[in-house]
Every structure is written in structure tokens, then in C-alpha cells.
């Protein structure tokens, strides 16, 4: 590569990043202007909200830089969603079902010590500590689109490496056809487990070839920093061409199996959430359309939704995995 080494520490679209001091000043200015405009209608209510936001953005995270990925399709040129939005608008039911719950509750998650158990149809099963996992592959920064099954999307600069690097290391046997991902379910750390909305622990799965695809990654960081707890720290899956719930957070077990594993969402509503759950604008969710999506952090209230792309825009890279498959049947 002709890029100088230190480019890896520079944010991909550096010119588009507004320094925190500037955007915070801008926000407080807008707030003041709005307060003037509306007058004395509801002064007390708003100050509380503003200070809550300020305390959230004041969180300090350890750096976790990654070299910009050179993998085809791994770096979209779309504008990344602000970290503030990425870390405050989350579906992580173990910490509550409201989007704002995880950011408020996930501070109870202990991400160290952390181990991931590798078991099933592999020649080298075992238990990997988080520090071993962090060193297992070279950290790359990849800017992926993320499309939630609910109809919203983000653009996220993840830091991690291809899951394939781990899979090769543990040597799956010929019987390994699927990979199951089991995530943490500790009631002492996760208040949301009291709810019976899903069958805990949260579990997801991929076909082995999907898991081996270089775009499928294990992520440890976002925006060059260690993952915030609410985003699935300390290690999560990211499968950019599938709906977000396929990308399991806070993984504690990776199991190689010969049968297609049942996932948590299949167990909850099999007719609504299929095993594949590839992003597909032509196959609607039974209860809503999947043709469009709201890009979080893009523009304002008046910004139109955008068209959802086949395989979330990764058709060139992953389409061949599903050649000849009826994607309506295997949704």
C-alpha cells in the first residue's frame, strides 16, 4: 500500500468530523435560540434532558485503532452515523426494550475478565480470553451499513477482523455446517433478563460459508475506541448484509454444529424472523414493509427515508452465497 502508516489512526472522512467542542457549542446555541423562540413555555423540563446528554457524551473510552480495511466492500463512502446516535439508539433487550435503555443500563456489564468458549465440530476447541482474541487478528477499521429489521439504518465504523481468521485457527471438522453464537445472559448484570420477551441466552447462527465470508467480522471497537457496553462489548458479531439482530452482541460461546441452530428470534416468532434474515427490500416483514429505511443521524425531521438495497448493498460481495435459493422461502 502507498498509504503512509499513520493514516490508520486518522478517521476515514476526517473532513466531515465536527470536533466535539464545536458541535457541543453549536447544540447549546441552538438550544438557547429555541428557548428564546418558544419563550417561557416549558423551561424546567428541557434543562434536565440537556444535562443528561452532556453526561453521556462525557464518557471516556479506551482507544482501539484499526488499519483501514482494503477488503472489497468493507469501507462505504457514506457518512458515518455520529457516535452519540450509535451509542444511544440501541436494541439490546438484555438491558431493556426501549432504544434508550441500553445506554442507561449497560454500565453494569463487566467486560473483563471475559472468555469465549469454542466448542463442537472443531479440532481445536477451547476457551479464549478477551486479550487473546484481541491479538488473534490485525485490527481493521471497516465502515459498514447496518440495517435494522425495524426499518432504520446507520453507517458504523467498526474495529475488528474477519471471523474467518478465528474459524481457520480452530479448524472446523467436515461435520461443521453451521456456527452458533451464544451471548451472555447474567441476571446480575442484565436487568432486561427479567422480561420474557425472548428465550435467554440470546442465540444466533450462520451457515459456515456465511461465517467464513470475509465481510463477516468480529468487532471489538467503534470509531477507533473500545465498544461501548450497549453496543455489544467486549466482542460482537457484525454481518452487514443481514438484519441487525443477526449480529449477536457480547458473545460468550461459539459452537460449530452440523444442524441449523434455532435462533432466539426464530423461537420467538418463526413466521416473522427467518434463519437467514438477509436484508431484502422485496421480502416484507409480515407486519411491515422492508422497502425503505430511516437513516439515523441523517439530516432532520424532513429528510426522506431511503430505499433499502438488496443484501443491504453487499450483493456484489455476498450474492453468490445464495445462488439459486428462493429468498422468499428462506427469508
Amino acid at each position: 500500500m502507498l498509504l503512509p502508516k499513520d493514516r490508520s489512526f486518522v478517521h476515514p472522512i476526517a473532513s466531515e468530523i465536527t470536533p466535539r467542542a464545536v458541535f457541543e457549542a453549536r447544540r447549546s446555541w441552538t438550544r438557547q435560540m429555541a428557548a428564546l423562540a418558544v419563550g417561557l413555555a416549558a423551561p424546567g423540563v428541557l434543562t434536565g434532558k440537556a444535562s443528561a446528554q452532556a453526561s453521556m457524551s462525557g464518557r471516556q473510552a479506551s482507544p482501539l485503532p484499526g488499519t483501514r480495511s482494503t477488503l472489497a466492500g468493507a469501507v462505504t463512502l457514506e457518512k458515518p452515523t455520529p457516535l452519540q446516535d450509535i451509542s444511544t439508539y440501541n436494541n439490546y433487550y438484555e438491558f431493556g426494550t426501549d432504544k434508550s435503555d441500553p445506554a442507561q443500563q449497560a454500565h453494569t456489564l463487566r467486560t473483563r475478565p471475559w472468555t469465549v468458549t469454542i466448542e463442537g465440530e472443531v479440532r481445536k476447541p477451547g476457551v479464549l480470553g478477551i486479550d487473546e482474541l484481541l491479538k488473534l487478528g490485525a485490527m481493521e477499521e471497516r465502515i459498514y451499513r447496518l440495517r435494522c429489521v425495524e426499518g432504520w439504518s446507520m453507517v458504523i465504523p467498526w474495529v475488528g477482523y474477519s471471523l474467518a481468521e478465528l474459524i481457520r485457527r480452530v479448524e472446523p471438522t467436515g461435520n461443521a455446517k453451521f456456527v452458533q453464537f451464544v451471548t451472555l445472559a447474567d441476571p446480575a448484570q442484565m436487568p432486561g433478563l427479567r422480561s420474557s420477551v425472548l428465550d435467554w441466552p440470546y442465540s444466533e447462527g450462520l451457515r459456515l460459508d456465511e461465517a467464513m465470508h470475509p465481510l463477516t467480522m468480529l468487532a471489538f471497537g467503534v470509531y477507533g475506541q473500545v465498544l461501548p457496553n450497549q453496543n455489544g462489548a467486549p466482542v460482537r458479531l457484525v454481518v452487514p448484509w443481514k438484519y441487525g439482530f443477526k449480529s449477536a452482541k457480547s458473545i460468550v460461546k461459539i459452537r460449530f454444529v452440523d444442524q441449523q441452530p434455532r435462533t432466539s428470534w426464530e423461537l420467538a416468532a418463526a413466521q416473522e424472523y427467518g434463519f437467514y434474515s438477509n436484508v431484502n427490500p422485496k421480502v416484507d416483514h409480515p407486519r411491515w414493509s422492508q422497502a425503505t429505511e430511516r437513516r439515523i443521524g441523517e439530516g432532520d425531521l424532513f429528510t426522506k427515508k431511503r430505499a433499502t438495497l438488496m443484501f443491504n448493498g453487499y450483493e456484489a460481495q455476498v450474492g453468490s452465497l445464495y445462488a439459486g435459493m428462493d429468498l422468499k422461502k428462506f427469508f
Binding site: 416549558a42 411491515w288 430511516r294 439515523i296
Partner: protein, 211 residues
């Protein structure tokens, strides 16, 4: 209390108070304090306030009967019209910020999503009530027919709570729905008891007497 309610300033004060929620939401849009998904937050906020004003409107008659604050009656029409106002804004916000005013998509969405169909129906049922809210309409329709028409609000209450229930069903998150359902249940249950209760119990009694 009746004296306070009859004071000339009461109605204008209620009017200003009832505009508070929309003032707050407009402020929040301008100040960008609605969070990462402002469209969703605005639509849901307007829905919440529609339901709250519906509860307030339906609370007038039972409160009057329980407390003897009969002057509450003069505030009922304004509360009902504010229910309609927030319902209309809720629907408009959905068609605009969620659906971009693409009417073909909106029609498809209404058919596709039962909770949208139910919410739209509830909003539509409020239209004839708002349209006949002035004194002239009562005269023209006759009090009996007018009252019959305005019982539609009970159907609206049922549909509104079903709309909210289905919206939350995906996440098994029923705590808030339960609060509104309990409030509406008491307000409508009280009316049902007033209308049918004594007669029903009398019938039961005479049945038993006949043995």
C-alpha cells in the same frame, strides 16, 4: 371548586395549557433534543398526548358525578377538540415524517399494519365529532341524535387503546399500555354501570324472587 371553574379566565388558561405539549414538541424539534430518531419521537409524542387528552375528555362526566364539580362540563368541548387536534397532528406527522406524503405507500401501509388501520379508523371517527362540536350542530341534529353520534367516542377509546397495545406488542412492553387501559376502563366502566348497572341488578333480583 365550581366557582373556580366558572371564572372567566379558566377557559383561556386551559387553552394555553393544552397548547403546552405541542409547544414543547416544536421546541424539541428546533433544539434537536428529540434524540437519534426525531421523526419517531415526534410521532410517538403526539400519539401519547392524543391518548392523554382522550382520557381527560372522558374523565369530565365521571368526575362531575363523583365530585359535584358540574362546571367541569363547560371544559369538555375544548378537551374533546384538543383530542382531535393532537390526533390530527399525530396522523399528519405519520403521513409526513414516516411516509413522506406518498399516498400509495400510506394506503398500502394502512392495510398491511393492523395497528395503523386501527389508529387511522379511530382518527377518522373523531372527524364527525369535531365537525358537530358547535352549538348549531346540536340544535340541527337534535340533542338525542347528537348525543348518540357522540357516543362514537367510546369506540374511539377502544380503538385507541388497541392501537397502542398492538404497537407495543412486538416487545411485550405493556406497562404503559396497562395504565391507559386501566384509566379508560374505569372511565368507561363507570358509564356502563350507570347505564346498565342498576337495571341489570334489578333484573337479577326479580329473577331470584321468582325462584
Amino acid at each position: 371548586m365550581n366557582k373556580v371553574l366558572l371564572a372567566p379566565a379558566t377557559k383561556p388558561l386551559l387553552f394555553v395549557l393544552a397548547l403546552g405539549p405541542i409547544g414543547f414538541l416544536v421546541y424539541a424539534v428546533i433544539a434537536r433534543s428529540l434524540g437519534p430518531n426525531p421523526a419517531e419521537a415526534l410521532i410517538r409524542g403526539l400519539g401519547d398526548w392524543t391518548l392523554r387528552f382522550l382520557c381527560l375528555t372522558l374523565a369530565v362526566t365521571p368526575l362531575r358525578q363523583w365530585t359535584g364539580w358540574h362546571a367541569l362540563a363547560r371544559l369538555r368541548r375544548m378537551l374533546g377538540l384538543f383530542t382531535f387536534f393532537y390526533a390530527t397532528l399525530h396522523f399528519l406527522a405519520y403521513t409526513w415524517f414516516d411516509m413522506g406524503f406518498v399516498w400509495a405507500d400510506i394506503a398500502r401501509d394502512i392495510v398491511k399494519r393492523p395497528f395503523i388501520l386501527v389508529g387511522t379508523t379511530a382518527a377518522l371517527l373523531l372527524v364527525p365529532l369535531a365537525a358537530t362540536s358547535f352549538n348549531g350542530a346540536i340544535r340541527r341534529l337534535g340533542a338525542a341524535r347528537w348525543q348518540l353520534l357522540h357516543r362514537l367516542v367510546y369506540a374511539v377509546a377502544g380503538l385507541a387503546i388497541l392501537h397502542f397495545y398492538w404497537m407495543r406488542a412486538a416487545k411485550n412492553n405493556f406497562a404503559e399500555v396497562g395504565v391507559y387501559a386501566a384509566v379508560l376502563g374505569v372511565l368507561l366502566g363507570w358509564r356502563a354501570w350507570k347505564a346498565w348497572g342498576p337495571r341489570y341488578f334489578m333484573k337479577l333480583g326479580s329473577h331470584n324472587a321468582r325462584g
